[in-house]
Amino acid sequence: MAVGEGKFKLYTKITPPLEAGDWRFEASQNLSASTPQGSLDEDDLRIDQEQINVRIRSPRYVLPPDQVLSTYPPANSFGSYGSRLPQVVIKRRTLPWERRLDGAPQNTPWLALVLIAEGEARLDTAVDVADCVTPGVVLDGVAEVAKGNRLVVRKSIIDKVFPTRNDVDLLAHAREVDIHDTELMMGDDDGFLAVVISNRLPVPGKTRSGESVPVKYLACLVNLEGQYNALLERSPDPVFSTRFVTERLAFTEHAAQDDHRVMGTAGARQADFNLAEGAFAPAPLASTPAAGPASRAEAMTGSASFKVKSGVAAKDGATPHKATSQWSTQDLAKATSTDISLQMAADFRIVDMIDARLLDPEYRFPVLLHWSFTTTGNTTFRSLMENLDSRLLGDVGNTPSDLSGRLPLEVVESGHVGLNHKTREGDEVRSWYRGPLVPHPTLTSTANRLDLAHSSDQLRIVIPDGREDLSLATGFEIGRLLTLSQPSIIASLMRWRQGHYHAARLKSMLVANRPLWESILGAGFEFNDLHRLGPLVGRYLVDAIVKQPELLLGEPRPKVSPGRPLEFDGRAPDVLATGLGLSADILRGGDLNLMLDNLRKVQIPMDDLIIDQVGTIGVREALEADLNTQRIDLVSNVLSNKMLDDVLTGPAFPVTETIKLDVSLDALDRILVDSIRARQLDEDEL
């Protein structure tokens, strides 16, 4: 069902019919039949079981770029994103539900968009996919790529910023939009999209004085497969826990134990130690901070050197969070101090790496997609826009800036500003300047436009108060300098100047003879239209010819004209006989047989002389010589003298001076000479 334009539908989830992975379909049939001889059972009518193996592929370690429709905030952007949750929109609508999370309710999304502030975790790129998950976790099935990206994050950070098991399900939904609404659609093909939202607002940092500082965030779309249990089960109650501090103290203790072991003082019992670790790692949050570590310390029997200093931490870094919705920056600052303490404890980790990992273990998550952006400030768009100082340009605003060491700004009512001006002579004067942006409506009619100036000095104006107004001259110079900085534009200007010189001449000719052209082309002719003048003239000429052909071409020939009258004198057989050179008597008379007989008797005259002399050479040569003379005469009369010289040579045209006509230049000669001269002139001018 289509959704209307500008509307969209939200779906809690769109689950695939089958999850990704390898599947096998088995088809078996049982047949039985009854025949007159007896019944046949399935053993008789056996049909082999058919097995079809199917692999459903789905991105697991890397999200193909063509599956990502958009990310918000835009990658590598700076902005005040503090009140918007990052999100990623995926084209494949079922993608977040295509894999199964162990330990999670069915159809829980296996993807989560986590937002990591700078320094909270480490992103490793191009790692073997087997190393993309925490050691010990194995993802069955084939990997679609050999190398992937991984996010290495400590458990403490997971507890802080990753969604809880409860949240994962709420952070992915599907959306159906109208495919005609480009704004919502953003280039998808079917209108169904999957959206994964982050659970964290990218808030900017704050200094102690309350000023916000930009924070760089990394948004990662992580694969939670096999590590669902690493997430917090539910968000912690708003009671402060001293978990970090406790861990640090435990570290201290381990290091000391290590010392003892090395120095052989108080006997360090490895077995007890391991026991303590086992109790530590998955420990639920201590409800009473001070009591937690103390009780564990007691559990380590015989450890005389164990010292618990959680009391100090509780005062220093453990101001309990109030159960309000506000999180105070003061509290944050102190929470940061616990971070710092953790950092200080890092040295102890170096003493014994294994312990460090156990106490704040590192997890690795495959990252399907990651991008980073920077949050600046914490103002909202609305507050900024509503507090803008909206005035006309030229107004200096309500709070003039610090005026130390400079004269107050001179702004006159026309919008001109007084500026220092060092003249060419070196004098220091003040001049008026007004940019192209003015506070008053400007006159735009042609009469008020600026007449063409050829140098900036033409545009310098001295106004009655004695100062110069350099606004237009400055504009002229800027245009000139900007153009001079562009070699291609200079070249274009030069080409234009050369190529269009003739056009300019033509136009001046046109303008001078405007009445003539208007009489030909009509009064509305636009003189800017030079480049089409030729075709236009041609068309108008044709138009004129068609309208009044008798003026330009003469009367058109009538469609039917009478033939030449034939002269008849006497009877038809007589005329015919005369025309054929017969005696009139032959065709006269009514008897047809007699007429044919007479016709057969008619003597046909023959010229004996020709028959005798044909074939003798004398006659032929006489005729040929005569013909040649006639031909040469004809040709030489038609062609000009120059052509005779240049072209007609050789035995076919034995040109002699006698052939040449003694006429001065004829019309063709003159045209030829003119064209040659014109061409030379052109080249000279160029």
């Binding site: 968000s235 708003p238 400030g377 909206s390 500003v417 942006l437 400007t442 068609v546 058109p556």
Partner: protein, 323 residues
Amino acid sequence: MINNKIDILNHLAAELKTTVKPAFTEFQKDQDTAMPAELRNWLVRLRLLEGVPFANLVADSELLPQESIRWFYLDRRWTDAIVQGALSVGTVNSDDRIQLEAQYAAIRAELDTEERNVRRREGDKRKMGAPGPISGFLLRSAAVSGWPGLHVRAFNVDPEEGDDARYEEDDPRRIRLLRLERLAPAVLLCLFDGIPKVVHIEEPRQGIQFGFMHEDSGSSRSAKLRPRNKTTFEYLDESGGQDIDVPFRVGSSGVVDIRRLSDALATKPNTGAADGLDSAEYALQLIRFPWRQVYGEVESPRFETVFRATIEYEKVVEATFKL
């Protein structure tokens, strides 16, 4: 045979009427007319002040204080001057200048037309006609740097639909933008093809966004969520009486505690959270709309309130003429 030819000629007259093309301004983008196409493009860009040093647009930084928007008209004489300066590069001798003088009217007419069509989208009609006034604004604000991709729309009427008006790009009531560009990270220059009655500046819309109403009061931050009715999509209380404080996870900045948020939503009627929040309902509650700032004339402001010269005209006259 001759009859056919006369038919052709007769027909030609009718043909001529249909094929004679209208005004000369109907050229294609790359077609040479009064001047070569590449030159025309360059001059149009100059006309729209591309590449002009910022100090020449705004003579003093005091004229554009922080967090301000300054409206202006474009001085066509100034833009004429910049074009003339560019053309002067091509003239060498007085012959050239005479030629330029003869062509200048055509050049200016063509630029007047072409600069209106710089941002024309494929398929839109070309704008023709006599050059009108050009206006615009300079916006200097953190909003420009923090929200890249602002939407600016201008209307030449006060839309009857109020501030939610949506007109197509080529609707005659829309005023075309001639230029919309960030001159500096926090300075936005916009030029309108006309003098708009109403201008909308809108937060960028990159798809649908999710979030909260974020508040920042000195040393602490908080966020509020205004719950919606899940069937009608309306806010339960427009005035904010039903707003929920968004709980955050302890000890981590900005991480929303969805469990407690869901509990809080469940106390409000018709939010869909009472029977257990699902992801679609959660998304529905979180959808945020872009903010649209509308500029228009509520009442005509007195000129003195929007433009205050530091030197009064009378004083200048007195000083000049020693009255």
